[in-house]
């Protein structure tokens, strides 16, 4: 049996293997990790016929070119406007929209240019990425140097193993899918938060400022956290607390008064005050924000946050139910094979 792998001709600035994360081990310092935009990776997996927990490639900013040595279905998700550019050995090119799967013949080049409407997108491959499991997850946590491909971001020239695509063994016509309305992935700038757990350590003015002013995503952005620029948030006394646990979405404000939203690879404990927490269903859209873009906050109660989580899941499931067969794409590989028969 031949080993299938995906080769990164250009890896992009911060591409990693991600799945739904290794939840449940933060008490020994292991970050939860996993896709920043869980909805997008799950959708990608559904489009290519994978289980939800299959690992895909999280792409940051874009600039990625890959090829796969076996025929596979792929899908780009987490974006509305960006596309896959598929090129054969003759330079024939076709452009495939996001949020649909497409069957790509072995060896063709698959390119994702600079992402236009998001900072984070996902490339799902049928079968899924086959890097080793650690605590039941293949997710990469580059700062903790664990998971994914050698515990690090993918580099130019890396070849990552793929798991077998069970559905591909016999069928030349692997089923392709698309969603018609990817509105769920449209950009947003307003994010809902629950105040606390240390909102009592800030002045009333700081809380008002936090909820009324516009912040900008700083270039200091990675999978651990998103630093924001904007109005200072003043502590009553200081920014230090007895170190405690952190959830993804926690907004930490250290002594300099500038908020940092902690993302999937955040350190498991921290010693700075946390003014609020972005609610779970808003984290995917938050992680789509690019440096320089605006971010604003509005407060909701815990009950509302929990209800909004359930509503977002219902919306996502409803979207999955609307998966349809996409219009056929012209298979350039068979076109040039046809051409070959005439000789040259």
């Amino acid at each position: 049996m031949t080993t299938s792998f995906i080769t990164f001709r250009r890896a992009g600035p911060y591409s990693t293997v991600q799945d739904m994360g290794r939840t449940g081990h933060q008490s020994v310092g292991v970050p939860e990790s996993g896709a920043l935009n869980r909805f997008a990776l799950k959708l990608g997996n559904r489009l290519v016929g994978n289980p939800d927990h299959a690992a895909g490639i999280e792409i940051c900013m874009g600039g990625v070119t890959v090829s796969i040595n076996t025929t596979r279905r792929v899908a780009l998700t987490g974006t509305v406007d960006s596309t896959l550019l598929i090129t054969d050995a003759y330079g024939h090119q076709m452009e495939i929209k996001a949020n649909r799967s497409v069957t790509v013949r072995a060896g063709l080049s698959i390119m994702i240019n600079a992402l236009s409407d998001t900072n984070t997108a996902y490339l799902a491959v049928s079968g899924g990425i086959g890097t080793p499991l650690l605590y039941q997850s293949r997710s990469t946590s580059p700062n903790a140097m664990i998971g994914g491909w050698q515990g690090r971001c993918i580099a130019d020239g890396d070849q990552l193993p793929l798991l077998d695509d069970q559905s591909a063994d016999t069928s030349e016509n692997m089923s392709e899918w698309m969603i018609e309305n990817p509105d769920m992935f449209a950009p947003k700038d307003m994010f809902r938060v629950v105040l606390g757990p240390q909102d009592n350590r800030f002045t009333e003015q700081a809380i008002t400022t936090f909820l009324s002013s516009e912040y900008t995503v700083s270039p200091l952005l990675n999978r651990m956290g998103m630093r924001l620029d904007g109005d200072l948030l003043t502590h009553i006394d200081n920014a230090d607390i007895a170190s405690d646990g952190i959830v993804t979405g926690s907004i930490q404000v250290p002594g300099d008064g500038m908020p940092i939203i902690l993302l999937a690879d955040h350190q498991t404990t921290g010693g700075y005050t946390k003014i609020a927490t972005v609610i779970q269903p808003d984290i995917p859209a938050l992680s789509s924000r690019k440096p320089g873009q605006a971010v604003r906050f509005t407060a909701v109660s815990v009950d509302e946050a929990e209800t909004l989580s359930r509503q977002a899941e219902d919306q996502f499931q409803a979207m999955l139910k609307q998966m349809v067969a996409p219009p056929p794409v012209i298979d350039i590989a068979s076109l040039y094979q046809l051409g070959d028969t005439t000789g040259d």
């Binding site: 939840t23 449940g24 081990h25 933060q26 008490s27 020994v28 310092g29 292991v30 970050p31 939860e32 080793p132 650690l134 605590y135 903790a144 140097m145 664990i146 515990g151 938060v193 629950v194 105040l195 606390g196 757990p197 240390q198 009592n200 007895a242 170190s243 405690d244 646990g245 952190i246 959830v247 979405g249 926690s250 350190q267 498991t268 404990t269 921290g270 946390k274 927490t277 972005v278 609610i279 779970q280 909701v300 815990v302 009950d303 509302e304 946050a305 929990e306 909004l308 989580s309 359930r310 899941e313």
Partner: protein
Amino acid sequence: MAMFIFQQLQQDYDRRFLSAGGHGLVVNMDDLPADQATKAARALAHVIKAAMAEQAFSGIEDIIPGLTNLLVQYNPLVTTAATLKQSIRPMLAELSDDVGAVRHIRMPCCYGGEFGPDLDELANTLGMSADDIIAKHQANTLEVAIMGFLPGLAYMKGVDEALYLPRRKTPRARVSALSVAIAMDQTVIYPLPSPGGWHIIGRIPVELFDANKEEPVLLKSSDKVTFYPIDINEYNKIKSDYKSGRFLIEIST
């Protein structure tokens, strides 16, 4: 074993339960003295885990003890903060310091030299010899208060008061993996190369986090840890024996 009951936990403390979004519930114990709060948070984690094993809870994703609170991360599609509070409140009333069997770990450490670049400066600042520092560091049995920061990193409390010092004014950009460092009443060992502001006094020859092992993490909350000194030859031997599986860390319960 003494079963201390955390009776000082106030019945009607208005900051007992705090919110970390709609997916995290903080059980705050900062009405207790700090060291008691750490123990109470760990004890509550123990009780909740036992209840989870009996399927008494659904929707809890992770339980993370902090120095003065316990963070319960939950799945809002399965449970709610209100439901969790209802189950946790009665647990607080009966909380003891029983966290199950406590492990005792003997940890080899090669002090000083290139492994302990801060030892001499520390000796100067504290007005004692480097040997005194080493002797004091290994004399006390430390306790893992919490884990965090990096996989396998343990914050160990109980360092001899004579060694208390704040962190370095300027943190190092890079501390070598497996460096042993002290600050205030604590010792840490860095599992990976990392930036760090603690005073580095030595290095251990074994891994704190080994992804290839069935149980990747060596140290855990509540573990008791005693350091013992080894020289550079022993360090090299243990390091290579550890890699080939011929050296096992001493763990007793």
